[in-house]
Amino acid sequence: MSASHPVYRSLVRLYPRDFRQRYGEDLVQHFADLITDRGARAAWTRTSIDLIVTMPRYRLEGIMTEQQTVTTVHLTITLLTAAGVLSFMTDLYAGQGLVGLVLLLAAVVLAMTQRSTLARAIRTPDTNRRRRRLATAAVLALIFAASYIAFVNLIGDSWTLRETLLTAIGTSAMIAAAIYLIAGLLTPKTPRRPDQAALIDH
């Protein structure tokens, strides 16, 4: 067995997990056939170019699948919301109330953007609409809860712009969460496809 095989096998690990689980052995077998047929130099030349071209692309395809994108966006929204609430509840820096508002607004904008046409166009289609709607409802409920906590901690004798903004964010998030929750519960369950492969073509 050529010493090149273990090296190539370890490079195959750079591909996304589902791809290498499905075709990892075929890739190594193919590489071995190339070495047998054309020699190590020709095999490495072809395979190196192939690796440089395909590895980032397959990785990107893996990231751009519906489930991965939704998870990443939801995580970002959650972190922004948590950071916003924290900056309200702690009193370490001057003017951090404004920072908290900006973070919460960013979470709302991100949640709205995630539902946009552009986002749907970039992502590959997903049949599991019910799960997506329920997840969105959960994120919006979190935003509402964060706004409410911040509001309770901030409310004083006078009604300022900050309170107005928090009320607007919290109310919008609450209504949207209720709508998404109802829509999600009304959406019929669909079975998960065994392979949610990206559809980005060559």
């Binding site: 591909y15 075929d26 395979t47 192939d50 395909t54 590895m55 397959y58 559809l199 060559h202």
Partner: protein
């Protein structure tokens, strides 16, 4: 589930079309597909392993090709997986061939009148 129209796959990416054409000749394993593509393109199209298997993955996922459950060559390496065209894959391949043929006819007619 409704079978998609072949025209919905057109134009096919070049590499996918080459692999489909290689499979029109019969059942093949990955390395054999690569050899066939190289041969039919006079060495112009040279695919690396990941390009080939990424293409096969798409073709299988889209229902244009399928992996064989049995091994057509019994004494071949047991690790090899064989692929063949599905009915949809044949129709898509034919539709793409017709599309390219029409395009070539127009190009020839425009570039060299009398050749078409």
């Amino acid at each position: 589930m409704a079978v998609p129209e072949p025209s919905s796959f057109l134009p096919l990416p070049q590499v996918q079309f080459h692999v489909l054409v290689a499979l029109t000749d019969g059942e093949r394993h990955g390395y054999s597909i690569m050899q066939s593509v190289e041969s039919s393109s006079d060495g112009i199209v040279r695919m690396g392993p990941a390009t080939l298997y990424g293409t096969l993955k798409r073709l299988v996922d889209h229902g244009l090709a399928e992996e064989l459950a049995h091994r057509p060559v019994p004494d071949d390496d047991q690790r090899r997986r064989y692929y063949r065209l599905t009915g949809l894959g044949q129709r898509v391949c034919a539709a793409e061939a017709n599309r390219l043929s029409d395009l070539v006819r127009i190009a020839r007619a425009n570039l060299r009148p009398g050749m078409a």
